[in-house]
Subunit: 305 residues, 2 copies
DNA sequence: GATCATTCATATCCCCAGGGTATCGATCGC
DNA sequence: GCGATCGATACCCTGGGGATATGAATGATC
């Protein structure tokens, strides 16, 4: 009946991910016996067995899988509470905007200009994370609002679409496929993306990033690195049309991919955000994007956040 | 840097709500000094002052207000994780459907019939909560899916609309206003709702329920009680048209209210639900509702959850 | 199939975090 | 100015969470 403790959830997540008490204990910086005891106590409190264990192997039960999913979001909520409180108490609160460099479709300067005219605006602070996990940063309270490409993992977030564009594939100009003017996903079988995933998987990687195994090469984390790899033919790369337009490079060819869905640049924020500064930025972004979509008749309808 | 503990958050919430260390300590079943110390330690960990305290009064700082909001959702996430794991591990998992009695517009039997034909269906279990907080039950893991009237507090939930209907006001047949065939909200000034709120506030109570002060009368918790009160002229009551249709009573008059927005019956579930049984019920509900909206051409398009 | 290595569980000890009691000190009402 | 109220400080003490040592069971190897 007594409720769970954060410590118990962290222990559980470690064991559930490692499926090995010894390794999980090492990862937690503690000895194995207290970890075993803690998991047993957790199971007793819940009245549920979370792991099927023999002396040789550990497996998650159904209840364990459920808890693993929910424990993650609960831990995110806790760290987010701490981060947001820290930030709110700091002397100079800012509006922390997370985005990958160069995916803003060139809208960011105008959005910021419009945003700064809003009386509710706080000074903006850009958090540029290369292959960083912007939705995760929102959920963990490290950022207040983000510009990301949809589809993405939007659990706990509210979003507003800004602009939709086709996705092009960037490949070496010398690539045999570059001779063709139009491709489909199957043509890319065998090519790999900068993050090591196969290129023909249909962008299923849009959700949670797979955990990187230690020893693997660090994936390229910015466009310069990526274009270097692309030019050498090592990888191919999916880029929204605006990114392609803003990065013409002699050694790189962009080609449309027939059966790849369009991607949408969205502005996202935590669902329970009540900050007027976030609302101001969302308003500004929607207004600018609407103007971009229909430049003849600039729209001014404000979108409530 | 060490992360927060559930205990600290509970302590903080208690003090933040009571704004009084002594009362908060009593509510937590502990003495006041360790509570003071725990809050100080929390502030030290966050590097932020959460309360402005003099010896005579305690006030929340801005950071404290932020934390109060986020702490609530974090605690909900923790208890939800525990509840869902408990339920998933129980011998006979069921699909727990939360709703207020009689607000289903008469759709529930058909929905359940359709649902039961789905191979992914688990045995349904109805959780009927009178004035209960269905969205809260979803967030706390006490139910898997709910039928509720929108607008409501949908943080962390996904919803799908089922049917939209006008809202009528139920009043005593002897009420002078019952002589008129059409009313507007302002006409109801001075009347009160079964939960004690003023009737002309425009249903702003749709969000989080206000905490009930001890000593106040318990609000009526089911339709029978409510209609009794309505018949005596003690209260008025807002009812969707389908509820009115299914509850004709001699002593009660239903009248349309001009400036009251329609209400929508929605099916809601936790945003990160992955249960096939939830998806099956959502599909069934959407199909039945679509058929109800256009009975001439029964729709079978399945709605993915 | 006997032996060994691996891995989770049990037994036992120990320390400190978190809670209790007593008291102080500051502020407000009268 | 005096007492009452309420948060802060000082100090003690207990129990839970952690470590170490060891047991027990299973799978691999020859």
């Amino acid at each position: 009946m007594n409720d769970l403790e954060v410590r118990q959830l962290r222990y559980f997540v470690a064991v559930a991910e490692e499926l090995h008490f010894g390794r999980a204990a090492a990862r937690l910086g503690m000895a194995q016996p207290p970890l075993s005891r803690a998991i047993r106590e957790l199971e007793r409190q819940l009245g549920v067995t979370l792991f099927e264990r023999t002396t040789r192997q550990v497996r998650l039960t159904g209840a364990g899988e459920v808890l693993l999913r929910d424990a993650g979001t609960a831990l995110e909520a806790i760290t987010a509470a701490a981060q947001r409180a820290r930030h709110a108490g700091s002397a100079s609160p800012r509006l922390r905007i997370a985005l990958k460099a160069d995916i803003d479709g060139g809208l960011l300067p105008q959005i910021l200009d419009a945003y700064r005219t809003d009386p509710a605006a706080l000074p903006p602070e850009l958090i540029l994370g290369g292959f960083g996990d912007q939705p995760g940063a929102l959920r963990d309270g490290l950022a207040d609002v983000a510009l990301v490409l949809s589809p993405m993992d939007d659990r706990g977030l509210d979003t507003e679409p800004l602009i939709t564009e086709p996705v092009l594939v960037a490949m070496a100009a010398t690539d045999p496929l570059a001779a063709r003017s139009r491709l489909c996903l199957a043509d890319l079988a065998g090519r790999i993306l900068p993050n090591g995933a196969p290129a023909d998987a249909g962008r299923v990687d849009a959700g949670r990033a797979a955990p990187r195994r230690p020893g693997e090469a660090r994936p390229a984390s910015n466009l310069s690195e990526i274009f270097n790899l692309v030019e050498t033919g090592s990888v191919v790369f999916f880029a929204p049309a605006s990114v392609a337009r803003r990065n013409p490079r002699p050694g790189v060819a962009y080609r449309p991919v027939g059966d790849l869905p369009n991607c949408t640049l969205v502005i996202a924020w935590p669902q329970d955000a009540r900050s007027p500064a976030v609302a101001a930025l969302v308003r500004a972004a929607c207004a600018i994007a609407a103007g971009r979509r229909a430049p003849a008749e600039p729209q001014t309808r404000s979108t409530t956040a």
